[in-house]
């Protein structure tokens, strides 16, 4: 087996006010895997994500991305390799046009001219948003903004894509369109979500996080079928949804 795309060992972190959020989180993800990260509010999922590219510095433990440890010296390269799509696309799309926003990442890494245009159009085409390239982001719908937010990260050619609650607040059609986009990407994926059917559909593997630790890790259908585990971690399936009967239409890439 190849080196993990992402390896997290014994991660610990407390906020400046003393709240301990991460208490020894441990896991690794192999190249090409698609993994869902589940867990109740306050479990530390978003805090964990901010460690994956060195925005936050852990009090203990370490993060390695494709063999490269996250350190102040490596942080620039790490941020190219780990593409994070934040929960609120309005936080992610901060420039005045979609084009400028998608170009922001690659331009920070010295990409210019025609190559930059190619990256921008390539990333927008991958998410089906090439038509809005010159629009201001705040004139797009939430679903469109989410897809453009994914494009801003894809334009950097990352090795692993991390999404923080990609399907929240979206109408069913937008949710489906985004699923189509994500399913079509050939990339390592880590997806935080409360949307359990979404996790089952897109990710063969899932982890459950609670109290700052990974408390379960296994095939998504198996975790979702374990009632005790689910209720111990404040997770609930939608009424009438049976994971053993659900047949994900898209069997994810091996």
């Amino acid at each position: 087996m190849s080196a993990p795309a992402l390896e997290v060992r014994g991660l610990e972190y407390a906020y400046p006010d003393g709240t301990q959020v991460l208490r020894g989180a441990d896991f690794h993800i192999h190249p090409g895997e698609r993994v869902a990260l589940l867990g109740p509010n306050g479990a530390g999922k978003t805090t964990l994500v901010l460690h994956l590219n060195g925005i936050l510095t852990p009090d203990g433990g370490d993060v390695t991305v494709a063999g490269l440890a996250v350190q102040p010296r490596t942080v620039k390269e790490i941020r190219r390799r780990v593409g994070i799509v934040f929960q609120d696309p309005d936080d992610q799309l901060f420039m005045t046009t979609v084009r400028q926003d998608v170009a922001f990442g690659p331009a920070n890494y010295g990409v210019t001219g025609e190559e930059l245009d190619r990256r921008v159009m390539g990333a927008l085409t991958a998410v089906g948003m090439a038509g809005v390239v010159d629009r201001p982001p705040h004139h797009l719908s939430l679903g469109e903004r989410r897809r453009v937010a994914v494009a801003t990260v894809l334009a950097m050619n990352p090795e692993i894509l991390v999404l923080d609650e990609p399907s929240s607040n979206m109408d069913p059609a937008s949710r489906r369109e985004l699923a189509d986009v994500l399913a079509g990407l050939e990339i390592t994926l880590l997806m935080i979500t409360h949307d359990l059917p979404y996790a089952l559909e897109l990710c063969p593997r899932a982890m459950i996080m609670n109290h700052g630790r990974i408390v379960a890790d296994g095939p998504t259908a198996a975790l979702l079928g374990d009632r005790e585990l689910m209720s111990a971690n404040r997770l609930e399936l939608p009424l009438g949804f049976d994971p053993s009967l659900a047949r994900p239409e898209r069997l994810p890439a091996p």
Binding site: K76, V82, F86, F94, M95, T96, A103, F104, P137
Partner: protein
């Protein structure tokens, strides 16, 4: 007074005015406004000439007179106080019906109205033909400090987001029967403005995290500034220079 709104200022089009680089249009606008403001108020004919210049520019930009007129109405309240001038002005007076008006005050009102209106019409032509992001890069090309244009960019981007948050807070308060009429009832509104500041700040921090995540090193990459050719300058400045010449003749003559 301020009643700014994030209305759709830009009117999509493919006219020659639309195609000009933003910084060239900004320079042209400044020339027209300076010419209008410098024209002595008694030279009514010169103001007519300025109006012709602005109408010609609007026609080149395929903007209808109705559109320009509508936009002028939005600016009209800012000029409303001009109506007071004939009453409070000094000097010779003229009797119109039951009113005794100051001649100087009437000239003053005319001056404020005509100059304010023409300047506004000129700026409408530019803002309707130039997308806001292009205006900002244009300002950057005119050597406005990067700090200013970058802060302006973030402001433009988040204006509607924050206005939306404020609007939702107001709706939520109105839904529970809040309808302030007196100053001391305004504290709830001010408190929600305080909460809005905190939310704006926290959003600023998240935006900064998102920027860092994509390799931000302390400077925004300079993207999308179009260079201007000599022909662009000639095309953009032809009309404004007519206005400037008219104003110069009026001042000398």
């Amino acid at each position: 007074m301020s009643a700014g709104h994030a209305h759709a200022l830009y009117v999509h089009g493919d006219s020659r005015v639309h195609a000009l680089p933003a910084h060239v249009k900004l320079v042209a606008l400044l020339i027209v406004i300076v010419a209008v403001v410098a024209t002595p108020r008694e030279r009514v004919g010169v103001f007519a000439a300025h109006a012709v210049v602005i109408i010609a520019a609007a026609a080149c930009a395929h903007l209808s007179p109705r559109f320009i007129g509508g936009r002028l109405l939005i600016g009209a309240p800012f000029l409303a106080f001009a109506v007071l001038l004939p009453f409070v002005g000094g000097g010779d007076r003229v009797v119109v019906g039951a009113l005794s008006l100051s001649v100087g005050g009437l000239w003053g009102a005319w001056s404020v109205l005509v100059k304010g209106t023409l300047a506004l019409a000129a700026s409408v032509v530019v803002t309707a033909t130039t997308p806001v992001p292009a205006l900002l890069t244009g300002l950057g090309r005119l050597r406005v400090p990067v700090v200013i244009t970058e802060i302006a960019g973030f402001m433009v981007r988040y204006l509607e987001v924050i206005a939306g948050e404020m609007h939702r807070a107001k709706v939520a308060m109105a839904a529970r029967g809040y309808q302030p009429r007196w100053a001391w009832q305004g504290t709830a509104l001010a408190t929600s403005a305080g909460a809005l500041f905190i939310r704006s700040h926290e959003r600023g921090e998240r935006v900064y995290d998102a920027m860092l995540s994509r390799g931000y090193q302390g400077r925004l990459p300079q993207l999308g500034a179009t260079a201007a050719t000599r022909a662009d300058w000639a095309r953009a400045l032809a009309l404004p220079l007519c206005a400037a010449a008219a104003a110069a003749l009026a001042v000398i003559g």
